[in-house]
Structure formats: structure tokens, C-alpha cells
Amino acid sequence: MSENPETTDGATTTSAAEVVVEAEAPPEEVTAELAEDMHIATGTREPILVSSGVTMQFGGLRALNDVNLSLHEGEIIGLIGPNGAGKTTFFNCLTGLYTPTSGQVVLRGKPMPQDPARVTEAGVARTFQNIRLFPSMTATENVLVGRHVRMKQGPISSLLHGPRFRRSEAEAAERAEKLLAFVGLTRFSEELARNLPYGDQRRLEIARALATDPSVLLLDEPTAGMNAQETEATRQLIFAIRDLGVSVVVIEHDTKFIFTLCDRVLVLVQGELLVEGSPDEVRGDPRVVEAYLGAPPEEVSAQLQTGGAVDGAGTAEGKSE
């Protein structure tokens, strides 16, 4: 956990340190090389991604109501909330899958395009809640698809396979190799994506998203279904991604994971932004406990205070709605 000197003021509390789980972080030299290749950090102090007043209406259902968010370079923001709070809907609004009913999203001062492909081109990449790899392609090919948007081959050059084509293929292959090393999947590079173990599929999805050279990475439940060790490895991976200069927004149910990972946490409840602040502030906020658990029984509240995992689904019977 030493790789993150700036993991925020005291967020790494005792409870996280107690459960020591061995997990490998990406090798430093790979991270350094990748950071150089990707060239993402610009050193700006302005927020790079700003959503203001994003509202999403599906028929009579207001899935999002006036959600504001500003993401700074090199920041990791956590997005938590009970199931159905609108977290994934918000991601879809950010990435152009949905057009917000009102409000707007601005990336580096420009309005976000309303088309997933152009959003990716502009520098926002995402992973999916239920893994959506290309199952019949190898791990390397999956990452190469991620390079699509940064490669300059047209149909003619694809047809001729000339020297420029070969150079761009070689570059893409080299980058794919580095990215697979970065997420620790080198041994699976020629394996079909559908044959990978579950946790590795999630890592491959992250590698594929990183291949698009994003300045903002949106991770939708990156540790769902993972054990403690895999979760810890993912945490290290996200820190390393931040070190590449990529700003990250994470949706997660595992609050311990979020509180030890993020610089800032947003709590979304029934489409509204309930609380925003540092992990400590959010953790101590009685409204958060109430949103998750309904009436706050003392012991659960205490457990939440110490950073125990609270799953929205697992506590459904305690919820008021």
C-alpha cells in the first residue's frame, strides 16, 4: 500500500490495514513505460470532467436528478449507493449511451459528444458491470480492439499491408503486450477471452479500456464477485492506473474497498446526490447509513463506521423502500 502516498488524509484506517492480503501490484517499470507511451497527464488544475445538473427521465421514472460531479486529473472518485440508485445510468449518461434529459457533461471544456464511439475517442473509457469482452477473440486481440481508435489505418492500407501498416500493427501489438503485462495477464495473451478465469476477465476489460488512451476511466463494479485477494489486487491496479495519469471513477458496493481507494466519494440514492466528500466524511454521515439500511440499528452503524463491507443487495430487507 506504499504506492499511494497521497491516498488522502487518513483514509487508510486501521481496519483496512488489519486484514493484510497479499496481492501483487503491476511492476513499476511497466507502469513507467506505459505512462510515457500514453502521455495522459497534462498537469492541469482545472477539473477535466464536469457534469452539471444531469437529469435522466425514463417515462415517469426519474432515474437521475440534478447530479453534479467534477473530476480532477489524477483523482479517484468513488460512486456508491444502493441498487437502483442510478449509478450505472449516470455512467451511461457520461459515455453517450444515454442522452441526459437535461444538464450537460463537459470534458476538458468541451461538451461531451452523444455517441459512445466519439466519447471514447475524446478520452473517456469504461468497463461494464456484467463483463462484456469479445469472447471469441484472444486477450491480445481484445486489447488491440481497444487500440482501434488510436490507430490510423484506413481500408486501403489494411488491404495493402504496406510498411506503414506494419509499423502501426507492431506499435499496437507492443502496446497490447505492455498493457497485458500491466494487468498481469501476459501468460493468457493468446488465450480466448471466454476461457479466462472470471477475475482475469475483469482485468482484461480494464486493459482493453486502457488501450484507448483514456484520460478518464469509468469502472463499473470492478470487484464484483471477487475474493479478498483479487479485490486487493484490483485496488493496487487502480492506484497504478492513477499513476499512469488516468483519472478514475469507480462504482462499487464494497464500501471498504471504496473508502480505502478513493480520494472522494459520492453517494447516490434514488437518483439524487446525497452526500459528497472524503471517505471519512461520507463514512460518518448518518444519512448514508440511513440510505443503505433504513432505520440505523446501532451495531450495524458501528460496523459501517469501521469500514465493513455493506452490500446494498445483502441488506435489502433493512431498506425502507
Partner: protein, 593 residues
């Protein structure tokens, strides 16, 4: 020779395996005597091959004059399918007896299946042609004994082999010096050429004169299939494909040369050159369709319309008397124009279909195919000739020299039509090159990504709209190119060559051969367009047979004859094929959170 034979699965005597499934009891009972059963089956197959039934209908003449026991007169005089049965039977006996051969049971099973199918085809033929089911009864004498004996032999062989437990396919890692491997590849490709020629010409031209064409052809196909299965089981085919992969460029060049040598074999007559050229046309079209369906995953049920557009454009620009345009351009220009026009139509059809997926896309393309056929039938704009077609399209040529002429070089006389054959071979090779280059490029990966998961693809920055149109456009251009050739070769272009049925057959060729692969499309097109040629007498049942073949293929090999991607995995994991055979589709390894 630095041969190092290291089969990864050593030939251990298989412990009596416990079988599961419907035939478990039978197989368990047969397990201890598996070797004996295999040998008995082989002997029965041999006997079947030597019984005189085999002579009576297919090779020697009508029953009963020639249905003699000429086995005694001419002990080794076996030809045709009798020869195949004898070879399959002998091979089964030898392999079964040699316990040190790895994957022995699997090899013998392949041989047994081959013998069974050969016997079945011929037995059925006898019952159909030789007086119905009655021909099998004892009163008809010895005629059907052979087929029954061989059928029994084949089944017993398969039983014994399956009971003995099927081993993993062995992996061979021999590495010969490069010149030895080159020679080996050349020899193998020449053998393939001879086999192709034999298959193509087997049974002769079908039709009223020669009602045996179909069955002789099918029988040879079955025998070759059995031999192929056995070779595949031995792991040697995989090894050869690894070797040819090692010398990729060399293999491709040799293959091209070998293909150009076909006119020098027994297939070197005008008739077979025409058949081969037609296969080439459909193979090129199928590869184009493979881009749309196999790579980009866009189901196109009206694809043959692009072949038709190419053909009609070529017909109109080549100075045919019936054409209203009345200009005669050089054929190279005509081919380019046809291809471009077809491509434009491809893009036009592609654009409105961008918003529909899956079934809806299929319906839209189906409608386009129908619109094309109806328009052509009604002689739209006077361009298609309607029911009169556009006849007398001049042959391609340079000056006075026509492509349809025969060539005489010294004492070597090549049949007429041979130049068309050369041209279509080069055309197919070019189309293959286009396909392969596109498949392994940014564009090809984008197509495959769209096929696998369109939403994820667009989240990766792929602009799915233009990329899909490009698939339609390139696929249509390739079909248009083939269509222009088709117009010149057949000299007549009529609307009814481009009906819905042709689209379906093309699609079947792609699916049958294996989606997304070149050999698959070529093989599929060859099978589906040679079969009708051979099975003229079955033409009424053509669709029935197609349907049957498709159902069987989808049941036993859902990924097609030449599967995509699995091949790579197959080289490293010999069991992948069995996994695929267990059930349709891949096992879900994904856990939904």
C-alpha cells in the same frame, strides 16, 4: 533427419473405461475384446469389398450378367468403392493389431465410420437401383451380401474402437530440415491436387447417360472422409498444418501453382474446367459473403443479388447484341466497373440496415434480394433482358485471341476453357488475399468486435455505422467481380441464376465450411456446388439433401468443417475438438454478477 518423435500422450494400453451415455452397457461389454472386435470388423469390411455385389451395378455393368464371383478369377481386381473398402478394412486391421500406435482406437474409429458410410451409400443404391428392398433378400442371390457384410464390418469396427476408449489426439513435434519439409509439402499438395481431380471427375459427368455418377462420387467422398478422420485422429494432419504454417509463404505459392496445374490431371477436359470455374465463381462470392456474415456477423439473405448486379453490368458493357448500351469495353475495365457498381449497391443496401440487427437485418436483406430478382425478371430499364436474359456475351479476349479457345503448346493440348480456369484461380487467390489482409487488420478486428458485442465495440471507439457499411461494400465488390467473370464465362446472364435459393446456398456454404475462414468458404462452396452437378438424378431432392447435410453438420460440428480460431487452440489443446463436439456452442465460463 533430425526427427524427434515425442507424442505427448504415450500409447498406454487403455484401461477398460467406464462408458456413459446411451450405449454404455454395450460399450462396457465390448471393452475387454475391443482389439478383437476391431480386427473382426476390418475382416468383415474386406470380405464386403470382395463380394461380387460390388461389381454388379456400379463399375462393371448391369445385373445379373456381371454379378459373378470374379473374385476367384481376378483376386486383386478391385476398383472403385470396392478398393476403398479393402483399403479401409486393411488399414483398420493393421492399426488395430499394432498396439504401439498412439490414438489407435480413435484412428480405427475414423476408418470404421468411413467403411460404414461407404457400405451404406452403396447398399442404399443397390436397393434403389437394383430392384428395391427386395434386392437384399437371399432370393436375389449374392448381390447385397457385400454391402451388408461391409456395413456390419464398419459398425463392428466402430463399436470395438469406441469400446476400447478414445484416446487424446497425439501431438507430434517433429522438426525436419527446411528442405525436407519443403519437399514434404510439395508432395502433399500434389497428392491433394490428384485427390481433388479424382473427386471432381469421379463417376464421370452426371445425367441420364450415367446414373452412377452420384453414388460413385458420394462413395469416394465417404472413403476419403474416413481416411481423413483417421489421419486427423493420428495427429499427423495437425502436424502437417503446423509445418505448412511454418513455411507459410512457400505453402501459399505451392498451393497456387498446384491449383493452376489442375488442367494437367484427369480433370483436364472442357467439361471439368467449366465445373471448376463455376465452383471458383461461387467460392469467390462465398468469401465475399464471409466478410459480411463471418467477420462482421451481419446476416445477409440477399447476397447473390450483388453477384447478379456484377453479371448484368458486365453483360451490358461487353457488347452483347441484346444490351441496350451497346458499348464494348475491355474486360479488365468491365470487371472493375462491375465490382464498383455492385459495391455501390452494397453500400446503398447497407445504409438503411444500420438501425436494424439480427432477424430484422435478415428480413431487410431478403427483401433487397427479392427486389433485385423481380426487377431483373421484369427487364428493368431494358438492362436485364427479362425472361429472354442477355445471351451471346462475347468471350473475353485480347485481339483475336479468345479465352474460350484451347491452347496447344508443343505436344501439350490444354482444353478450351482452361484460360477461364486460370483466371478464376487467380481471382479467387486475390479475393483470398483481400479477405486475409482485411481480417488481420484494424478493420477486421473491428468487424469481429461488432459481431461479438456491438455495444462493447462502440464503447471501444468503433464507429459501428461506417464500419458495417464498409463490410457490405467490400463484400458486394468481391461478389460483383465474380459476377463479371461469371457473365463472360457462361455467355448468358439470366435473372433466375440469382434467386433466393442461391443466396441460401451461399450462406449454407459459409456456415457449413466454417464462418470467418477462407478454407471453410472455399470448401463449403465446392461441396454445395459440386453436389448438384454430381447428383443430377437427385435434383428433385437437392434441397432435402442440403437441409439434411446442414442439420448433420450443425449437430456434430457446430463450428463448421474448418473452424475459426479453434484451430489455433486445437494446436495447443488436443481435446478442444471433443469439447466442441460435446454440445453446440461454447460452455459459458462467464459468471453474471
Amino acid at each position: 533427419m533430425t526427427a524427434t518423435a515425442t507424442p505427448e500422450t504415450p500409447a498406454t494400453p487403455a484401461p477398460a473405461p467406464r462408458h456413459t451415455g446411451r450405449f454404455a452397457r454395450l460399450l462396457d461389454a465390448a471393452a475387454p475384446r475391443s482389439t478383437v472386435l476391431m480386427i473382426v470388423g476390418g475382416v468383415l469390411t474386406l470380405v464386403g469389398g470382395y463380394l461380387p455385389w460390388a461389381t454388379f451395378v456400379l463399375n462393371e455393368g448391369p445385373y445379373p450378367e456381371k454379378a459373378t464371383l470374379n473374385f476367384f478369377v481376378d483376386p486383386f481386381g478391385v476398383t472403385g468403392f470396392r478398393l476403398h473398402l479393402v483399403i479401409l478394412g486393411l488399414a483398420a486391421i493393421v492399426v488395430a493389431a499394432l498396439r504401439r500406435i498412439p490414438a489407435r482406437h480413435r484412428i480405427v474409429r475414423g476408418l470404421g465410420i468411413g467403411a460404414t458410410v461407404v457400405a451404406l451409400i452403396n447398399g442404399l443404391w443397390i436397393t434403389v437401383e437394383g430392384g428395391g428392398l427386395g434386392a437384399i433378400t437371399a432370393s436375389e442371390g449374392s448381390i447385397a451380401f457385400g454391402s451388408i457384410a461391409a456395413l456390419l464390418g464398419g459398425l463392428v469396427t466402430v463399436l470395438g474402437a469406441s469400446a476400447g476408449g478414445l484416446e487424446r489426439k497425439p501431438v507430434w513435434t517433429w522438426k525436419l530440415p527446411w528442405w525436407a519439409e519443403w519437399i514434404l509439402l510439395v508432395v502433399l499438395f500434389v497428392i491433394v491436387l490428384l485427390l481433388v481431380a479424382a473427386v471432381l471427375t469421379s463417376g464421370g459427368q452426371g445425367g441420364v447417360v450415367n446414373p452412377y455418377a452420384g453414388v460413385v462420387f458420394l462413395s469416394l467422398l465417404a472413403a476419403l472422409g474416413g481416411a481423413f478422420a483417421a489421419l486427423n485422429a493420428s495427429g499427423l494432419l495437425t502436424w502437417v498444418s503446423v509445418v505448412s504454417e511454418r513455411h507459410r509463404t512457400f505453402s501459399v505459392i505451392v498451393l497456387l501453382i498446384v491449383a493452376l496445374l489442375l488442367p494437367l490431371t484427369s480433370a483436364g477436359t472442357e467439361y471439368w474446367m467449366t465445373v471448376a470455374s463455376n465452383i471458383g465463381v461461387y467460392a469467390a462470392t462465398a468469401i465475399g459473403l464471409n466478410i459480411v456474415v463471418g467477420l462482421a456477423g451481419l446476416l445477409d439473405l440477399g447476397y447473390v443479388a450483388f453477384l447478379g448486379i456484377g453479371a448484368f453490368v458486365a453483360a451490358n458493357l461487353s457488347g452483347a447484341a441484346a444490351s441496350h448500351i451497346g458499348i464494348h469495353l475491355p474486360f479488365v475495365l468491365v470487371m472493375i466497373i462491375s465490382s464498383v457498381v455492385a459495391g455501390m449497391f452494397g453500400a446503398i443496401v447497407g445504409s438503411p440496415t444500420l438501425r436494424v440487427r439480427g432477424d430484422y437485418l435478415a428480413i431487410v436483406t431478403l427483401a433487397f434480394g427479392e427486389i433485385f430478382v423481380r426487377s431483373a425478371q421484369n427487364n428493368i430499364g431494358g438492362l436485364t433482358g427479362g425472361a429472354n436474359a442477355i445471351p451471346n456475351i462475347p468471350a473475353m479476349g485480347v485481339g483475336d485471341f479468345k479465352f474460350s479457345d484451347s491452347i496447344v503448346i508443343g505436344s501439350l493440348r490444354l482444353p478450351s476453357g482452361v484460360l477461364y480456369y486460370f483466371l478464376i484461380v487467380l481471382l479467387v487467390a486475390a479475393v483470398m488475399l483481400v479477405f486475409a489482409h482485411l481480417k488481420y487488420s484494424r478493420l477486421g478486428r473491428a468487424w469481429i468486435a461488432i459481431r461479438e458485442d456491438e455495444d462493447a465495440a462502440s464503447a471501444m471507439g468503433i464507429r459501428t455505422g461506417p464500419i458495417k457499411i464498409l463490410a457490405f461494400l467490400i463484400g458486394a465488390m468481391l461478389a460483383g467481380l465474380a459476377g463479371a467473370f461469371f457473365a463472360h464465362k457462361t455467355a448468358v446472364v439470366a435473372y433466375d441464376s440469382f434467386r433466393f435459393l442461391e443466396s441460401v446456398t451461399l450462406l449454407a456454404a459459409v456456415i457449413l465450411g466454417g464462418m470467418g475462414t477462407i478454407p471453410g468458404a472455399v470448401l463449403g462452396a465446392s461441396i454445395l456446388f459440386v453436389l448438384p452437378e454430381k447428383l443430377r438424378e437427385f435434383s428433385d431432392y437437392r434441397l432435402l439433401l442440403f437441409g439434411l447435410a446442414l442439420v448433420l453438420i450443425m449437430r456434430f460440428r457446430p463450428q463448421g468443417i474448418v473452424p475459426d480460431r479453434h484451430r489455433k487452440a486445437e494446436l495447443t489443446d488436443p481435446d478442444v475438438e471433443d469439447v466442441a463436439k460435446e454440445g453446440p456452442g461454447p460452455l459459458p465460463t462467464r459468471v453474471e454478477p
